[in-house]
């Protein structure tokens, strides 16, 4: 009786709404996220586990418990929702990635990243599509048409590097980190575009002109998406610099940064661009200009708030995928032909391994051809790390698979159910098994004593670093002092033009210092203003 009169706000809400979100699901989900953070923290020192595997395991266990307690009725309680994923969960992750990336490394390796991310994904796509056509025939699978096979290629080309990035260290292996990381972003964008193209066009008769058109459109898409992100980032920098929000309110600055970042993503969606690319570049621009125009408190807040949101979103995805994996309805179909289902999953897993090898190793060779310095080349060990880092398949694959195989409600077709379960199997297997091996593998391939490659890379860094190209959100070693902010930077630098990429970088810095920073602010071009007096700081 006591509870019955309670403030049943949500029950009130549920009464009138149709698309009601059950409160118990939300409660469970939030509680699980808390548990993941706690257990992930406790297991941090463990040499096998990482946060992704912890979250996935917790999700699986919970799904199992729900399934058992409800006797198989709850299959729809945690159905994967693509829209939730793409509109709310993915943006903070990608934006934070752009916001925290070490820009110098990223742009220095820009061509290699594009090579891996775009060309590599295409190679993977072709190999997985053709391979599945050939191998599925041997399993007497006849319910897939050409479009489905192409879609499989796109779905399984989308890597999930979250897991690896938790193991790779941006400080210790900057080159590898930027390659794996940058490739992951471009790769996601490429596979989403690919799947979309497949679903829109009649690709049963691919001619060279259609292929060229597709390629041209991809380039166009890439350029416009990037430009939109850069534009929104610059607008935010300009607004905050001109109006100087910090005079009044840290909260306003932070709110504006969050909202404009999200605006870039959602605008890109609206214009049918690649939102992932847009918000990524918006993050880069914001960290380069906007972040330097706000108050100290805003800097600390944005840095950690964005990272926290991204952190929560990542854990959420893994718990979600883990729980969704036990959707009983799909597995019912599979249980009729378990061998064939295992066969499909194994074939896809094998194709993923081969497809990635066929893209990374040849492309690394090509990339090495353009690198003059021997020490700058990507070594074999590094190539193996890059290959391995992209083997995990994650939430993007699941989202794309749901999109392709549950369209217009025909989930109940056995073929579609099998494709969904196979996707989930591949995701679970690659994340858990490959993920478990990752930490030890990294320790073997990348011993703590840095390889010559990275050392030389850091050496090159040190030439023009410290004042010119400090990573924006650096580490403890490179603490930014107030004095540092005050001093306008010299516009010309001693520079060793031993590499064309570095020369391009050099001219960009000149241009940046001469034209961009005076307008949009940035390190050294914003007057130092302490936190406003009505605000509380720890100092």
């Amino acid at each position: 009786m006591g509870f019955s009169l309670g403030s049943v706000v949500v029950r009130l809400g549920l009464k009138s709404g149709t698309d009601a979100t059950p409160v118990d699901s939300i409660t469970l989900c939030v509680a699980l996220l808390c548990a993941c953070i706690l257990i992930g923290h406790l297991l941090e020192k463990n040499r096998w586990m990482n946060e992704s595997i912890t979250a996935l395991s917790i999700g699986l266990c919970t799904g199992l418990i729900i399934l058992l307690t409800t006797e198989g009725k709850s299959s729809h309680l945690f159905l994967f929702n693509e829209q939730l994923f793409f509109i709310y969960v993915l943006p903070p992750i990608i934006f934070n990635a752009g916001f925290q990336v070490k820009k110098k490394q990223f742009f220095r390796n820009f061509m290699t990243i594009m090579l891996f991310g775009a060309v590599g994904t295409l190679i993977s796509f072709i190999i997985i599509s053709l391979g599945s056509v050939q191998l599925f025939n041997k399993l007497n699978i006849d319910f897939l048409d050409t479009m489905d096979y192409l879609a499989l290629g796109a779905i399984f080309s989308a890597t999930d590097s979250v897991c690896t990035l938790q193991v790779l260290n941006q400080e210790e292996t900057p080159l590898l980190y930027s390659l794996v990381f940058g490739e992951g972003v471009v790769n996601d964008a490429t596979s989403v575009v690919l799947l979309n193209a497949i679903q829109r066009f009649d690709l049963s008769h691919i001619t060279s002109s259609i292929a060229m058109k597709l390629f041209g459109n991809f380039l166009y898409l890439f350029a416009t998406s990037t430009l939109l992100g850069v534009a929104v980032g610059l607008v935010s920098a300009y607004i905050i610099k001109k109006l100087y929000f910090g005079r009044h309110s840290t909260d306003r600055e932070v709110a504006l940064m969050i909202l404009m970042a999200y605006l870039s993503y959602i605008m890109s969606e609206l214009f049918n661009l690649s939102a992932i690319l847009t918000v990524f570049f918006c993050g880069i621009v914001m960290s380069h200009y906007t972040w330097h125009n706000v108050t100290e408190s805003s800097r600390v807040t944005t840095k950690h708030a964005f990272a926290t949101l991204s952190f929560i979103a990542e854990i959420f995805i893994f718990v979600y995928v883990g729980m969704d994996a036990l959707d009983i309805e799909k597995w019912k179909f599979v249980s009729k032909s378990p061998c064939r289902s295992i066969g499909v999953s194994s074939i896809l897993l094998g194709l993923v391994l081969v497809g990635r090898a066929a893209s990374i190793f040849p492309l690394s060779f090509i990339s090495n051809l353009t690198r003059k310095s021997q020490s700058d080349k990507i070594g074999l060990k590094q190539q193996v790390v890059i290959w391995w880092a992209g083997l995990m398949r994650g939430a993007v694959s699941v989202a794309l698979a749901y999109n392709q195989f549950t369209n217009s409600g025909h989930t109940l077709l056995p073929g579609n159910a099998m494709m969904i379960t196979s996707t989930i199997s591949v995701v679970l297997f690659s994340t858990v098994v490959f993920g478990l091996v990752t930490k030890p593998l990294m320790r073997v391939l990348l011993p703590k004593t840095q390889s010559s490659n990275e050392l030389s890379c850091e050496l090159a860094d040190s030439v023009d670093s410290k004042s010119l190209a400090l990573p924006l959100l650096g580490n403890g070693k490179e603490r930014e002092s107030d004095a540092d902010i005050n001093i306008p930077l010299p516009t010309s630098k001693r520079m060793l033009p031993w590499d064309p990429t570095h020369t391009v970088h050099h001219y960009w810095r000149k241009f940046d210092d001469a034209f961009m920073r005076p307008v949009f602010g940035g390190r050294g071009f914003t007057q130092y203003v302490p936190a406003s007096p009505t605000q509380w700081t720890l100092l």
Copy 2:
């Protein structure tokens, strides 16, 4: 053609989902929020405007433009969604309120706040219900039953103090701020519980035993909700103190605080308690214990991140209500009898004014009887301010009205449409017209030279302040230094026990220092640990 191949992630999502959120609405909404922040900033020095009015006006203008461009077809684009409001938008506002409130003032005035918030709301409720029964009969309104009249009382008893709090200053008028603010929270909870009770019980024959039962249940609900919030807050403090997350990651600490705060809210919903009260007390406990157990970066981040989320949510509500106000469908019914509609709105507005006066002035008199010191009493000017501060009606009223009058889909009844439009009219009128007068009124009633009341209040503060009862999240004047954190506080204080409330406060501090802080941490009981070395700080 260029755009057509784009990464139509959301379009993909929309294809398979049923409860699709249109990307264009989200884009528009985010863009409007940005515009509100900008325009609100530019208009800050204006003597009439405040952020609520700006957001409401922008929402109205946008609604108008949409209405004109779509020629009246878009009425359902921005329909008010109760669930969105109660599950996602309200929690950050209330939590932040608890997190940032000056706890000493709040607890010192606890009884008065409860008197205003609970008893005052009941008085308002009775006056508005009875008054509307009497006055609506004169307008020949016959489509409302007893339950509807009682619901009207509950709906229009829910004040919206956001607007006033933007004008009142916590530093300048601490007593008034804590009264208005605390009353607002209790008041929201009371009206939600009231409406729920009305909808559940057959209240056509109210006997004294039913009334007593309702009252007992209200007390029970209040106690359990508070306890749940306190419990979750203490658990978060204990976990973070024991595991010491900061050693590893600021992001984890911040994520855990956010998640556990939300967990308290959603658990309270699950148990049918008053989630508003729960999350409010969770915020208080978190600011008292948990916040002292985390790293410096986490403190800055949580303080500003919570404030920012609350800020965005507040603006969102006003934009949303503004846009929803122009839902053409409802107004079509009203246009048939404009005079009657205006009559209804005017009557309700009048009853709101009278109802609040009938609760605040007598209750202030009662409250003053318990205050021995002449200088501690609530003066007439203060009473007028408190009265005025609670006249605005806001999003809670709109949400409750939608709940009562659009249940089970019978929105199309003329009577229900009229009640909804009247609610919106009262909300718009009170927010805009009363809101516009607020700033000048405050300036007249509360001149910059502080009234004797507040001076005495500050005087009383200064006796045991500085070390004992510094407001947690203080102002610039009371900057917290690292040294301050290091020094364990003396457990006994020179105390002037001239007031029973202060004595209770005194014993609480003793208990807190002796038992609570050693377990749950808090100021002076957590060892000082700087930001972890891998983290970057501004210092």
